[in-house]
């Protein structure tokens, strides 16, 4: 075990905060910086986030050893003993190599002394400079001295050095003398660190640059970021939805998707990956406030596990969806806008809207943050492309683990603790269920930090579905993971085995692992990572036909010499085949990219064949969009269909016919197919069994459910049990690897210190008073209580979060929240 590492994390949005907390919680020191005066990033502007329309950001705060951080709403800021936050700071230079970087930081003064400013706001009234407010994406104005976030605490104001004209008016009115003006005050500082994590986020597209849809010209055309502030009680309209032009309530609202994304003319051959959900959320919230929303879209990219259900809910509560990209927009007399669009060829509709919201995403040409290429500099996924919250956090944790691997794991110093808290012994061993990519990545990460790992795998080989994987490069990557795991001394591999009995408390679990002869060891471990994977769905017997197969099988078959030489006049892909509906109401992520990749392969051998796609929404988020563009360039034909009238497959002895309806032609179409690929999706494996064994939640479809869909993506509801990969949701290989590492990071917090520190405010039992009624057991949201052997409840001290639900329900005060110190 080595000394604590020291890291610079640039960007204090949620990715930066996640990465910092990960490192801080595993005993490292972090300098977290941001060019803004406050932490929080874009989330400061977003009160409620998809896919549940709630907040819950605070749930990313440390849950173990909670006393190291301050415990309040993260909109007020984030404080951890091991994290130094430097506002108004940026990186100037990075020198040296990994493990030994020299980082030159430059800070500038906000000119307002946080200890003196009481947030009274007198200065705001006198400052003569007004400029568009970044936070509200120019929806409202702010002064050169301003409140940097709606909630930030201390309630200090800040001066924006770029717009301040040094007139001194604010200084005159300030009663506490908090303001120091004068020439810009800058300071440079050198930090010697192990690694740097860039978490600065992406740049958003500015529709004004391309003067799209009259943005900048018409006040009632705003960006989705500005609309977010309109929804907020702390925003410029106090949560009312109004037309900026005249302040009249906005009833009819249009969202236009893919503004600045999926637009080759702008050089944007990417999907921003989150705007569809963002718009769905905004539209949903606007309905709560009485507006009538319409979303104009090309594909509804609801590719996350619960996103399709989210879309279904929104549509069933009255959201209107129109598939087309509106072509123009004009101001209308008497306020509002006239939007022209053409949903089917030849039909042009003009419709009035009070407000038009442009769904903007990643700016075209975004190359990632500065210093990205330097050795020892790691970049979070959320800084390369726009990601939803859970993906951002998974990537941040994965990156923070890679950073920590450079320095090795420290054990927290025993001495120098300000609080003499009680300790709980934990086992420095992690059980990993499943030897697919997610499980292997988790195992290798932990073993790399000196934690011993036991992999339990049901097959007699590692690598999961590697043989099913259609992409050769991906197959090779998985094989490499297998090789690495097999030669790692710290990884014990139990093949043809399964976990059978599970007991114990956080940090001290026992799992009985059985092999096929029903024999096997009882493993004592501190944490468990469930990475049991899944597989492609098998086609029903009624579809067994030599010419019909899943898109995955088809992709592999295209390499067969036999197929290469065959005449292929027509290939038909049916995407979302019995998925994203009914029993399998989720997107499997991989069918679209796989099928689109097949197009290139087909073209290389069969330049003339017809390639037809029946699809509902092509799901190529992020840079996968390129595959879609390429497939169209290569002449693939895309025919959309509705769930209620799917294309029909007619199987005959020698041939297969696909019948459907082409809305663009307005007529029935029929194809005699030489090969049919069905995008029939993936499914989780043993979710229900594992959920039962480990006492965690599972959804109807068999995916393990995380503690929080946004803020705790790889935690199960029980501390010490983590979930990742296809067992949790459909993922790509990269994502599975990231999730594995993120799960490892979460496990690491628990097992890196064999003497885990208890938080001061934890529930205790007074055993003589407990009647074992079990009320507390039912109400505890963290599974922290269990019937003890001595006729009273007991508390799992590392799982308890001190919520007090047990105290409130225990009629007898047998359960008490003991707060030591403080």
């Amino acid at each position: 075990m080595s000394k604590p590492g020291r890291f610079v994390v640039a960007g204090a949005g949620i990715s930066g905060v996640r990465a910092s907390l990960d490192l801080a919680e595993t005993g490292h020191e972090v300098v977290l910086l941001d060019t803004a005066p406050v932490s929080g990033g874009i989330l400061l502007a977003l009160d409620r986030q998809f896919p549940n329309d709630h907040c819950g950001m605070c749930r990313m705060l440390p849950m173990l050893d909670r006393d190291q951080s301050k415990y309040f709403c993260m909109r007020l800021g984030m404080f951890h003993k091991n994290v130094t936050f430097m506002p108004n700071t940026e990186i100037k230079e990075i020198g040296g190599g990994p493990g030994d970087l020299k980082v030159l930081l430059q800070s500038w003064s906000a000119k307002v002394d946080p200890d003196l400013c009481n947030g009274c706001g007198d200065c705001l009234e006198v400052c003569p400079v007004s400029l568009p407010d970044d936070l509200a994406d120019s929806l409202s104005l702010r002064k050169a001295i301003f409140k940097p976030g709606p909630n930030t605490s201390p309630s200090t104001l800040a001066i924006d050095p770029d717009s301040c004209i040094l007139c001194g008016k604010c200084k005159e009115v300030c009663q506490t003398g908090a303001i120091t003006l004068g020439p810009d005050y800058e300071q440079t500082l050198e930090e010697k660190v192990t690694a740097v994590i860039m978490a600065t986020g992406v740049e958003y597209f500015d529709p004004g640059d391309a003067s799209m849809y009259g943005y900048g010209k018409y006040a009632d055309v705003i960006t989705s970021l500005a609309f977010e502030r309109m929804l907020s009680s702390s925003g410029p309209t106090q949560g009312r939805i109004l037309r900026p032009s005249d302040g009249a309530p906005a009833e009819n609202i249009a969202w236009i998707q893919c503004v600045g994304s999926r637009n080759l003319r702008l050089g944007a051959d990417h999907c921003s990956g989150a705007c569809c959900m963002f718009a769905l959320k905004q539209a949903g919230l606007s309905m709560e406030k009485g507006s009538r929303p319409t979303i104009f879209y090309m594909d509804m990219r609801t590719f996350g596990r619960d996103w399709q259900k989210y879309l279904d809910r929104a549509s069933s509560s009255g959201l209107r969806l129109v598939r087309c990209r509106p072509h123009s927009l004009e101001a209308r007399n008497g306020g509002g806008l006239m939007l022209s669009y053409s949903p089917v060829p030849g039909e042009l509709i003009d419709e009035h809207f009070d407000l038009v919201v442009l769904s903007v995403g990643r700016a075209p040409g975004w190359k990632g943050p500065d210093f990205s290429d330097q050795d020892g500099v790691l970049v979070t996924g959320g800084s390369k492309r726009l990601l939803d919250i859970s993906r951002s956090l998974v990537s941040a944790s994965s990156v923070s683990f890679r950073a920590a691997m450079i320095s090795g794991s420290p054990v927290q110093a025993e001495q120098g603790d300000s609080i003499t808290s009680q300790r709980v012994k934990v086992k420095s061993k992690v059980l990993v269920v499943g030897g697919g990519p997610a499980g292997l990545s988790a195992s290798l990460a932990l073993a790399g930090q000196g934690i011993s790992v036991v992999i339990v795998e049901k097959n007699d080989f590692l690598g999961g579905n590697v043989s099913q994987i259609s992409d050769a490069e991906a197959r090779e990557r998985i094989r490499e993971l297998v090789r690495d795991a097999e030669k790692n001394q710290d990884i014990e591999i139990l093949l043809k085995s399964r976990p059978m009995e599970f007991s114990g408390t956080t940090g001290n679990f026992q799992t009985h692992v059985l092999d096929q002869q029903n024999k096997g060891p009882i493993i004592e471990h501190g944490a468990v990572i469930l990475a049991s994977g899944g597989s492609q769905s098998t086609l029903p017997a009624s579809l067994v036909h030599p010419k019909v197969m899943t898109v995955f099988d088809l992709h592999r078959r295209l390499d067969d010499p036999e197929i290469k030489e065959k005449d292929l006049n027509c290939l038909v892909f049916i995407q979302c085949f019995e998925t994203r509906t009914k029993e399998k109401n989720y997107c499997s992520r991989l069918c679209c990219p796989t099928a689109l990749r097949s197009v290139e392969k087909i073209r290389s051998t069969h330049p003339e064949s017809r390639i037809i796609f029946f699809y509902r929404d092509i799901m190529t988020p992020g840079d996968l969009e390129h595959l879609y563009t390429r497939a169209r360039e290569l002449g693939a034909i895309f025919i959309p269909y509705q769930t209620d009238i799917p294309p029909k497959l007619i199987l005959e002895k020698e041939q297969v016919v696909v019948e459907g309806f082409d809305p663009y032609l307005g007529e029935e179409v029929k194809f005699k197919a030489d090969l049919v690929g069905l995008g029939s999706g993936l499914g989780p494996g043993s979710g229900h069994e594992l959920a039962e064994l480990f006492g965690i939640r599972v959804d109807r479809e068999g995916f393990l459910i995380e503690a929080d869909p946004k803020w705790r993506p790889v935690d199960s509801g029980r501390e010490g049990i983590f979930i990742c990969g296809l067992a949790r949701n459909p993922v790509s290989l990269d994502e599975a690897v990231d999730e594995g590492r993120a799960a490892a990071q979460r496990a690491m917090r628990l097992v890196y210190n064999p003497q885990a520190r208890m938080s001061v405010s934890t529930a205790r039992i007074r055993p003589a008073l407990c009647s074992m009624c079990g009320l507390c057991w039912t109400v505890c949201p963290y599974f922290a209580r269990y019937p003890g052997s001595k006729g009273a409840m007991e508390v799992d001290p590392l799982a308890c979060q001190g919520c007090g639900a047990c105290v409130a329900i225990c009629p007898n005060h047998a359960s008490v929240l003991e707060v030591q110190g403080d």
Partner: protein
């Protein structure tokens, strides 16, 4: 901000006609996460709210023992205001839903003891809803002012 920020920081005084009116005794129980943040926001944005409230910060509305509320009334409170996170936002997952059930039962009980239901209020107030916090507290205090003293303290004479 220190975690121990005193409740008194948050209490802003409404000076008008202060002494002529009935000054109800009001306990406000707010959760540490959302509602406290909203109260703090109301405070820093200088949204004034009545001075009568005594704000007590709890980690979560789910930790409120209804006995505590009964006791407050017995000891002379004229109203008890509870503020927590919106359903789904509770830091502790569903403490607020537990609170809602128990406060529902308690309200029936207090009503049976002659306490007007308006004297016990439960509101969901999100972190950014400073204005909402101010409005709810103001309305609540106004309502209690109209109702007059609860007189429930008499019950405590045995």
């Amino acid at each position: 901000m220190e975690q121990t920020t005193q409740q008194t920081d948050l209490v802003k005084t409404e000076q008008t006609d202060f002494d002529k009116e009935f000054h109800p005794n009001i306990v406000a129980l707010v959760c540490n996460w959302c509602t406290y943040t909203a109260a703090d926001l109301a405070g820093v944005t200088r949204l004034k709210y009545p001075a009568e409230i005594r704000m007590i910060r709890l980690m979560c509305t789910g930790m409120i023992d209804p006995r505590f509320i009964v006791e407050s009334f017995l000891r002379g409170a004229d109203g008890v205001f509870i503020g927590g996170c919106h359903p789904g936002d509770c830091h502790y997952i569903n403490g607020n839903l537990k609170a809602r059930l128990r406060i529902g039962g308690l309200k029936a009980l207090l009503q049976g003891m002659g306490i007007e239901p308006q004297r016990l209020a439960l509101h969901w107030i999100g972190a950014s809803e400073g204005t909402e916090f101010q409005k709810q507290v103001k309305d609540f205090v106004e309502g209690i002012r109209e109702l007059g003293p609860s007189g429930f303290g008499v019950y405590d004479s045995i």
